[in-house]
């Protein structure tokens, strides 16, 4: 069925909403994370239970990621009035009890999870919750494979609105007025990008979606694509109308098979209903989208490299200018926006720039999705208004540090960002403040570190990543990063000197100053920010040849203390035969033979082995 007018769409929506089944939905989180945690078995159990006679009361709905990755598999019971109960760590065995308890009862043994978000588009933040879901508004509550579910939440109405009631220039202006900034990390005003491309002479133009999510630990784009693919398609069509493009391309990592599958289904459905293809909404506007698969090169997230990759060329950046908005894909004006950026567009069109600006900070309105990872209790996705403090995110939403260890630092911005320490936990974060405290927004990865993390080793980890992912085009990134990595390796192995520390900083600054693209220009950030914030840790490595966190194995020493009862278990398991001693008397470790594998410490039942 094709929809040819905004009225027809609204009619269609009200018909969808008026059909009341009276059933409670059982939302089953079946994104990649849910499936990996065993969500499919839980879903099977739910369906089996419904078949046993509960189908009159419940309806099973597959949804994308709810963001509660730490307690997958998760399910949510929700009735038509919006009353809900979320369960985490669900096992198939718990299903009968959960369904029997329903919304009001308690299911013994099951773990209830508190909802920590609200939907600014629909409701007031009555409970003072920390999350505001705009980009993730549908993710986790609609079936991404059913376009009707999307339409129930006003899907494609924004597209209808711009096509029927707005001039293309007004669309770019609305997005500019909303001050929506690129959520891929750099924070460039999206509306301005659109205006640049729109100002180019009429002709072939392209609208590209950058779904080459590559930061270690970041998966917000995947969640949107798996959980709410239509929101991206709709936004691309809106942008295409604004700039005068008739062709869209989603450049997506081939490692996201589920997202690809859902996008393909969504594109097909959108074409069938006339939201993509020729004469959209009965107007003369044509726009269609195709998928291009990335081979997993991090640098292809850089827009010029991404464009080269689509063109079948080596994925490496070129100097800007010319900017893609002027000369992009096949040398035609091209807008490249990130998935999360697109996910905000339809809401802005529906509710207006002023509404969008009521969320977030004046300089960075709206929200940002973060992927919480690392040494934190509640790993997962959170979407918070700009200006939220790190403390609220890590200790409020993230549930604090794993195993009650002490918080040490949080890395934002992935390998391009920096680490933020306790002293900045209360900084309200947006694009500018993150930069001012030595990090950056990046795509929204947030890796939390505790006192057991060695910051030199962390810097080395990120450098290892950028060395691997550098395209190798420019000298500072190709050779400079490698040399930084080698210096850090030296320090971790006890071969660093104070001179190395000096050179580390000097070279880092030169790389930032000279590298060709964003990858190289930001790659030394983890080094510089750890140097700034944890210099004493570096000094311990080079001056005392000691790793305070006990991570750098070359600097460790394993010794046996007086707790030893002489059971011999450590000696039996030592792979190099470094431990000796008589049964029932204290053993000793031959330091020359010890390879610091730590097996003895793992095997000892008496805490008799010290690692220093």
């Amino acid at each position: 069925m094709r929809i040819n007018s905004l009225e027809a769409l609204k009619d269609y929506k009200s018909r969808l909403c008026s059909v009341s089944s009276g059933k409670t939905s059982v939302l089953m989180s079946l994104g990649t994370c849910g499936l990996a945690a065993g969500g499919a078995k839980v879903a099977d159990a739910i369906r089996a239970e419904l078949d046993k006679g509960l189908s009159g009361k419940y309806e099973a709905v597959s949804v994308g990621c709810m963001g509660l990755c730490y307690c997958e598999p998760t399910i949510e019971l929700r009735d038509e009035t919006g009353r809900s109960a979320i369960y985490g760590h669900v096992t198939p065995e718990q299903i009968p009890a959960i369904l029997a308890a329903g919304l009001d009862g308690e299911a013994a043994g099951a773990t209830k999870v508190k909802r920590t978000w609200y939907y600014p588009e629909e409701e007031e933040n009555k409970d003072g919750v920390l999350q505001a879901r705009i980009a993730l508004r549908n993710t986790g509550r609609i079936d991404p494979e059913k376009i009707d579910d999307y339409l129930k939440y006003d899907g494609y109405q924004a597209l209808g609105k711009v096509l029927k009631t707005m001039a293309p220039e007004a669309v770019s202006k609305e997005i500019l007025d909303a001050m929506l900034r690129g959520r891929g990390g750099a924070g460039f005003p999206t509306g301005k990008k659109w205006q640049f491309a729109a100002a180019q002479p009429k002709g072939q133009k392209y609208m590209i979606c950058n779904a080459d999510e590559g930061d270690p630990g970041a998966f917000m784009d995947r969640a949107v694509l798996e959980g709410d693919p239509h929101s991206v398609l709709e936004a691309m069509a809106i942008g295409a109308y604004a700039i005068g493009a008739d062709k869209g391309i989603i450049y997506i990592r081939a490692e996201y098979p589920l997202a690809i599958e859902r996008l393909q289904k969504a594109i097909k459905q959108a074409r069938e209903m006339g939201f993509l293809g020729k004469g959209i909404f009965g107007t003369s506007f044509d726009f269609d989208i195709e998928l291009k698969y990335g081979a997993g090169a991090f640098v292809c997230g850089e827009e010029t490299a991404l464009i080269h990759s689509i063109e079948g060329k080596r994925g490496e950046p070129t100097f800007k200018p010319p900017f893609p908005a002027i000369q992009g894909l096949w040398k035609k004006p091209t807008v490249v926006n990130n998935v999360e950026t697109y996910a905000n567009v339809a809401a802005i069109i529906r509710k207006g720039a002023a509404w969008f600006k009521s969320v977030g900070t004046p300089g960075s309105p709206g929200t940002k999705v973060f992927a919480l990872a690392g040494k934190i209790n509640c790993v997962g996705l959170v979407e918070v208004p700009m200006g939220t403090t790190l403390r609220d995110i890590i200790f409020g939403l993230g549930g604090g540090i794993l195993n009650n260890r002490g918080f040490k630092a949080v890395q934002t911005g992935g390998p391009s960002g920096g680490c933020i320490t306790t002293k900045n936990l209360d900084t309200p974060i947006d694009y500018e403040t993150l930069k001012s405290i030595g990090s950056m927004m990046g795509s929204g990865g947030m890796i939390v570190m505790d006192e057991d993390n060695c910051m030199v080793n962390i810097a080395r980890f990120f450098l290892d990543f950028t060395c691997d992912e550098s395209c190798g085009k420019c000298t500072p990134c190709r050779i400079g990063n490698r040399r930084l990595y080698e210096m850090l390796t030296d320090i971790c192995r006890g071969k660093g000197t104070e001179e190395t520390l000096k050179e580390l900083r000097t070279l880092s600054n030169v790389i930032k100053d000279t590298a060709l693209c964003g990858l190289g220009q930001t790659s030394p950030n983890p080094v510089l920010s750890t140097l700034d914030n944890f210099f004493e840790e570096y000094e311990a490595h080079v001056k005392e040849k000691r790793c305070p966190a006990g991570v750098c194995t070359a600097l460790l020493k394993f010794t046996i203390n007086d707790n030893c009862i002489g059971c011999g278990l450590c000696a039996k398991n030592c792979p190099t035969g470094a431990i000796s001693g008589k049964i029932k008397s204290k053993h000793v470790i031959d330091q020359d033979k010890c390879i610091k594998c730590g097996v003895c410490q793992q095997k000892c039942k008496f805490k008799a082995i010290d690692k220093k």
Partner: protein, 575 residues
């Protein structure tokens, strides 16, 4: 015009200019490494990868690569701040930290642009240590040696191969520290569509791409009393070799070249110009036959082995179009090992033919199996102009103090028509001279066909000879060749004859010539020298060369005779 300030000095340059160009206008030479610009060919390689040319631009957070940053109104540029200079030094130190330190035994020693920069920057020790890129050396073929451990990823060779020549063999592979330029799947060049034109070698600033050398073998034979070693010199060598000895580009060093070869110990010093005249006899006859019959037009020249490789790989449907005449080098070899060997009573297996060529594809050409008989190659060794210069230096011969000497007889006499083979358009002009004379008589037929001269990539001319309107074209640089041939494939262009040379500008810019480092003024000077040489010769038409007339009388009969076909013609193979 855009107004900006560089080091506080105002300068105005056209919109679209780079900071580098604006600085040049002020007489500032910002150091560069990956950047190269071939003015005469309107081609520029500015990938901005080396970051040596960075400068400070007020208001810009990071340094700007001057080679690819366009100027903007009111821009305030500082090229020599401490920050810029230190960054440049660091770039250089980083490159050196991943570069073999075997400069003394590198074939690019003293020609290496990285070495020159290191010297200019006064770098005495390399601060950074660490891993070194190592790749196996490819010296599988006869022409080009690739030692990618020396590659600095300037990507000039890619531009030469893919953009200028449109051969498309080289590209960046691998990521990060392991990134390097290589053929697909690290294939050896001999397994690719490489034409061995050597433009990548000309472009390479370091010792990553060089030629495969045969000096040792040649010295060996020169010192073997059982062997008679004779040598031929290509037209373009005489106007370039002087540069290796401090002569101005464009000096004609023919006499000193001959003298040097004699002092090195070659038994006879002959001239490829002689066989160039022979080529005109064969190719000219073929052209007139095709014009008469109106069949198989246009005739494409076949002197250039890089072009022949390109044809065989990229245009297998056009294999019938080139003249079947061998190149002058191979004609010389065939005649030397037959006519000359018979005449002098030397057993061809003891006669060693060496050529001095401006070209690397000639090395490959001489190794083609069809140019050998019973295991004896027509041309045994091919040395580049650069290799010969090195032999002269090695032998302690003081080039500038040599007397001017004459080529030996009988394969040393030549005409002005032959010497211009070394520049784009020369072969066609030589052919037109003879064709015109054959049709109109020698007395009044034209000699100078200036429309086909010059470094322009594609040239066209229509000349009327004996009432026939002859349409001719000249293409040099394989990218231009591709454009022209595609027009012919599409039926958009009709010509009678087309001269094709693989290297932009012809043999004066061959892969074996002294390195020009992108300075095309050198090429212009070499070209002008060839036309001066032509003007200075008493005979300027190939068919009037007395020793050519003689060999037809004594040995070959007529052009395109059966014997001529056996010795002087060849076939092409789709690859």
């Amino acid at each position: 015009m855009i107004n900006l300030k560089i080091n506080n000095t105002p300068v105005s340059v056209p919109e679209g200019s780079t900071i580098l160009e604006a600085a040049e206008k002020l007489g500032l030479k910002i150091p560069t490494l990956c950047h190269i610009k071939w003015d005469s060919f309107n081609t520029e390689h500015r990938c901005g990868s080396c970051r040596i040319c960075v400068v400070e631009v007020t208001g810009r957070p990071n340094l700007a690569p001057s080679c690819c940053t366009p100027v903007a109104e009111g821009m305030d540029v500082h090229t020599n701040t401490n920050r810029a200079i230190r960054a440049r030094r660091t770039m250089l130190e980083l490159l050196l930290s991943n570069h073999p330190k075997d400069c003394l035994v590198c074939s690019k020693n003293q020609e290496c642009e990285l070495q020159k920069l290191a010297s200019a920057f006064n770098i005495h020790h390399i601060k950074y240590e660490g891993a070194q890129s190592e790749f196996p050396v490819d010296e599988n073929g006869a022409a080009i040696r690739r030692d990618m451990s020396k590659c600095i990823m300037c990507r000039r060779c890619e531009t030469a191969c893919n953009v200028v020549q449109t051969v498309g063999v080289l590209s960046g592979v691998n990521r990060g520290f392991n990134a390097v330029v290589a053929p697909e799947n690290f294939a050896q060049l001999t397994d690719t569509a490489c034409t061995f034109c050597g433009q990548c070698v000309q472009a390479c600033p370091v010792g990553a791409l060089t030629e495969i050398g045969y000096k040792d073998e040649v010295w060996e034979h020169l010192n073997n009393p059982k062997k008679t070693v004779i040598v031929q010199t290509a037209p373009a060598v005489r106007v370039a070799i002087g540069e290796e000895f401090g002569f101005q580009a464009g000096e004609i060093s023919t006499g000193k070249l001959v003298a040097a070869l004699r002092r090195i110990g070659f038994a006879k010093v002959f001239d490829t110009d002689w066989s160039a005249d022979l080529t005109i006899m064969e190719e000219g006859t073929e052209l007139l036959e095709r014009i008469k019959s109106g069949e198989n037009l246009p005739l494409l020249t076949s002197c250039c082995p890089g072009w022949v490789n390109f044809l065989e790989h990229q245009f297998p449907d056009l294999l019938h179009m080139p003249s079947t005449a061998k190149s002058p080098q191979q004609m010389f070899g065939a005649i030397a090992k037959s006519y000359y060997a018979e005449k002098t009573g030397i057993d061809p297996s003891n006669l060693i033919v060496v050529s001095i060529m401006p070209c690397l594809a000639k090395k490959y050409e001489a190794s083609r199996p069809e140019f050998a008989h019973n295991g004896v190659r027509d041309v045994d060794y091919v040395l580049s102009t650069r290799e010969l210069a090195s032999m002269i230096k090695e032998a302690g011969i003081v080039f500038d103090r040599l007397p001017d000497e004459q080529y030996d007889s009988p394969l040393g006499e030549s005409t002005g028509a032959a010497v211009i083979f070394g520049a784009s358009g020369g072969v066609l002009e030589a052919a037109l001279r003879t064709a015109a004379a054959w049709l109109e008589g020698d007395k009044d037929s034209p000699i100078d066909f200036v429309a086909v001269r010059g470094l322009e990539g594609i040239k066209e001319a229509t000349v009327t000879i004996a009432g026939i309107e002859l349409k001719a074209a000249v293409a040099s640089g394989l990218g231009n060749v591709r454009k022209l041939l595609e027009r012919i494939q599409r039926g958009e262009a009709q010509y009678h004859a087309i001269e094709i040379m693989a290297c932009p500008g012809g043999c004066i810019n061959g892969g074996g010539q002294p390195y020009n480092h992108g300075n095309t003024a050198i090429l212009e000077a070499r070209k002008d020298a060839l036309y001066r040489a032509d003007k200075g010769l008493p005979i300027r038409k190939s068919h009037l060369n007395p020793s050519i007339i003689k060999i037809y009388d004594e040995y070959l009969g007529k052009p395109n005779s059966e014997k001529a076909h056996k010795l002087l013609h060849t076939h092409y193979y789709a690859k």
